[in-house]
């Protein structure tokens, strides 16, 4: 492996690269899904490959291939250099990376139980039991359950002298109960939306979900939603559960602080950001709002030893007592402001270019117990589990929907409500936050999309429930 790595970097330099790095990966992903009493999918995926990234003539080039052998490594490395030279045809200034980074070492995701050690039979039995429990509890139309576990071994090396090896393990799963009636479709997902919660760790993540124990409630709530009243259209107080807060943080903060987006590098696809550099220090939210990027925290899907540029994992404040203070950065974007990268350049796989991605973007916990916060709320709505999401291309105007909500009347949870949606403008919304709870947990989002060609990234969000005042609900 080291020989091939050095060979690729040598070829790139001989061809004229002033900087080169290589990532080699071996990936094994296994997944299982069950639907209404039958195994729907049972898949084992294995792949390996490598990607070479270079700077030549002051511009970037990247090429990747799946044949991890001498001649192919030469070809791909050479191709990366010729692509970089082509990029220089439309260059306005040279790429700068800032100070050299020399990282050495290894990292392995800590876990208690290797998810690959659990037999497939046991995994099937678990999902079938949860499936049966859902279908027994209530007359749902569809019961779904899924599990996924993966191991990625990656090696990163650069012409600056970095050489790091990592082994990242993820485990996740979930269930969904879908009820159909009178032209309506309602669903309840556990433990997170779209049937999936995932983290870096082992089988203990799945055990903690208690899929079978929570299955009946999901089915009962899905059916109850069919006849629940619609969420009223009004401006009111909302308390948002931790899983929906994860989505809120993701869309309105995590993406908004990606420095490449701020600099226009994502404008052609996902857009830009209202958090331009002149906005550092602006009031992003109330004093209760503290948000950090942390790639060191346990269980997070954005937890690792080094990013895909070899920059060590780190903890970066993004919003401190409501003030916007920090960005997610890569070496190139950080160099434009003469500060060091905070290690958030990540690639979906060996065949993708690393770009700035969220790591674990966490709303820090507050002091409230959720039950006390509800009790202290005269009137409002408690929203739980994301169902839909949309935000404008500068991350300002958003509209989100959850699977379920409950009225809060005189400090108590009341009627169930269906089709709950809420909308706002990002800084106004966060400015209306007047309480954050202390029951904090790490949630995993496995479907964050960005880049051209599109890359899907796994990111984490540690959150707790929070309360917001005068929020528009019931849009549709």
């Amino acid at each position: 492996m080291r020989e091939l790595v050095e060979r690729a970097l040598n070829v790139a330099q001989v061809r004229g690269a002033t900087y080169a790095d290589i990532r080699l990966e071996e990936r094994r992903i296994e997944s299982l899904s069950v639907k209404s009493g039958a195994v729907e999918t049972l898949v084992t995926e294995e792949e390996q490959g490598f990607g070479v990234r270079v700077i030549a003539d002051g511009a970037w080039g990247f090429a990747s291939g799946s044949v991890v052998a001498g001649e192919e490594v030469d070809r791909i490395a050479a191709m990366a250099v010729s692509i970089a030279r082509a990029s220089a045809i439309a260059k306005r200034e040279d790429v700068r990376l800032g100070q050299p980074i020399v990282s050495r070492g290894s990292y392995r995701t800590p876990f208690q139980i290797d998810p690959f050690s659990i037999s497939l039979e046991d995994k099937i039995d678990l999902l079938m039991a949860a499936d049966a429990a859902m279908r027994k509890a209530a007359p749902i139309a569809v019961a779904e359950g899924s599990l996924e576990w993966s191991r990625v071994r990656k090696t990163f090396a650069s012409t600056e002298g970095s050489f790091v090896e990592q082994e990242l393990v993820e485990t996740g799963g979930g269930i969904v109960a879908i009820a159909v009636g009178d032209g309506d479709v309602e669903q309840r997902s556990w433990p997170n939306s779209f049937g999936r919660h995932q983290g870096t760790g082992g089988w203990e993540i799945v055990t903690a979900m208690d899929l079978v124990g929570n299955a009946p409630r999901m089915a009962e709530e899905a059916v109850a939603l069919l006849t629940a009243p619609r969420c009223p259209s009004e401006a009111t107080t909302v308390i948002i559960d931790p899983t929906q807060m994860a989505l809120q943080v993701h869309e309105s903060c995590g993406h908004a602080v990606e420095l490449d987006r701020v600099l226009g590098m994502e404008a052609a696809y996902a857009g830009t950001s209202f958090l331009t550099p002149d906005k550092r220090g602006m009031r992003y939210g109330s004093e209760h709002v503290n948000i950090v990027a942390d790639s060191t925290v346990p269980l997070g899907l954005g937890t690792y030893g080094w990013d895909d540029e070899g920059v060590p994992a780190s903890h970066t404040p993004l919003v401190t007592r409501g003030e916007f203070v920090g960005y997610l950065s890569s070496r190139e974007t950080a160099a434009r402001f003469d500060f060091p990268s905070n290690g958030t350049a990540r690639a979906e796989s060996w065949r993708h270019l690393p770009i700035i991605r969220m790591t674990n973007i966490n709303l820090m916990p507050g002091d409230w117990k959720l039950e006390d916060l509800i009790a202290a709320t005269d009137r409002g709505i408690y929203l739980e589990t994301n169902r839909s999401w949309s935000i404008d291309d500068r991350r300002l105007n958003f509209q989100f929907g959850t699977e379920i909500a409950w009225e809060i009347v005189n400090g108590k949870r009341g009627r169930m409500l269906k089709h709950p949606t809420y909308a706002g403008i990002t800084p106004e919304f966060w400015g209306s936050c007047d309480a954050v709870c202390r029951e904090w947990a790490m949630w995993g989002t496995t479907n964050c999309g960005k880049g051209q060609p599109s890359q899907t990234m796994h990111v984490g969000h540690g959150t707790a429930a929070a309360r917001f005042r005068n929020v528009r609900v019931g849009i549709a």
Partner: protein, 445 residues
Amino acid sequence: MLGAERLHAIANTVIEASPADQTEVMLSTNESALTRFANSTIHQNVFEATVDVRVRAVVGNRVGVATTNQLGERSLVEAAQRAFQSAKLAPENPEFKGLPDAQPIPKVNAHSANTAAYTPEQRARDVKGICDRSLGNGVNAFGAWSTSAYELAVANSRGIWAYTPRTVASLKIVVMASNGTGYAERTGVDASRIDVDGAGEEAVTKALKARDPIAIEPGAYTVVLEPYAVGTMIDYLAYMGLDAMSVQEGRSFMAGHFGERLAGENITIWDDGLDPNGIPTPFDFEGVPKQKVVFLDRGIAKGVVYDSFTAGREGKQSTGHALPAGSGYGPMPLNLFLAPGDADEKGLLAGIGRGLWITRFHYVNVVHPTETILTGMTRDGTFLIENGHITRPVHNLRFTQSVLEALSSVEAIGRERRMLQDEVGGTCVPALRIAGFNFTSVTQF
């Protein structure tokens, strides 16, 4: 590109090594390059060469899937074994009726040597032209110019062997003026026939017209949607329920409504993998030839797409719309068409006292699938229409709108269609004028 002969040999290696009762092998190769630009400079420039071997093993009526991206015999045999072992462990599924039989595969012309041979230098020079045009007009260019060459082959132990090569060239441009943006997109099989200059001109012109937008109130407006916006809407309509799986589960807006009017008489929507106006694909990921499927025939709900599993449930034939084995989704239409009308731009605008011209939508999502309600933002060129003329640019708005209600309120349909491709599939659609399109809020730019 490996070619049909080599891929057939690889497929045979897997099938012969498989101890399963039935075995299917899906093989795809992809050599894809993308030159990305921002602030009128190339900032990312990538190439990938990938191979995907996907094996579906059937033991009785139990199924397992394994993949590899290595073509050595050991890896192929091991993948066949993994799929077999998984299938043996799966419980019986009485609804699974087995792999499909072989049928004749039509020939399509979806491969261009020009695209396959398009070099990084060619893409860079094209991008430089777009950037120079933008800078010359005092604006900045952002976008992506990609060219890819793809092979898909499917074989199974029941005699299916299907192979097709395909190329796609796709150019997407966003141009930013001081406080306005414009967009253009071109997609086709042959990169040399993509009108790069025309696309650049379109995006620059739109951006310049979009400067200094005025505030506007949300509400219901008559809108003219450019094909970019219509394509997104039709894509999402397909996602919400134009497939047999969602109908069978009761989740589709089509369920229980076949033969009923769901849209205006001027609306006909279909899927056709063989139509050369799209990016033709003659068969699906099970090797079943693609049939043309009409979803809405002059507004009447007619049909949905099937794969072999959903077809087996109803005693029907697959329409050739399966996704790769193990994807977890049901069948999906990937070559969508909306029938054109006879209106030119003047005809689309005529008679609109006060309305909106929408270039495209952004970040669309489903709010309610059976009511076909979507939400999303406008983007990259949103203009006020007054007395039949485009007058002023306006701030972008959020829409929350039922697609079927919109398609029941179409007052005019453009005569020209545009071919649009995303990562999954494509649409070929005209512009639409729609009454009473609902905007629920505005943003600040």
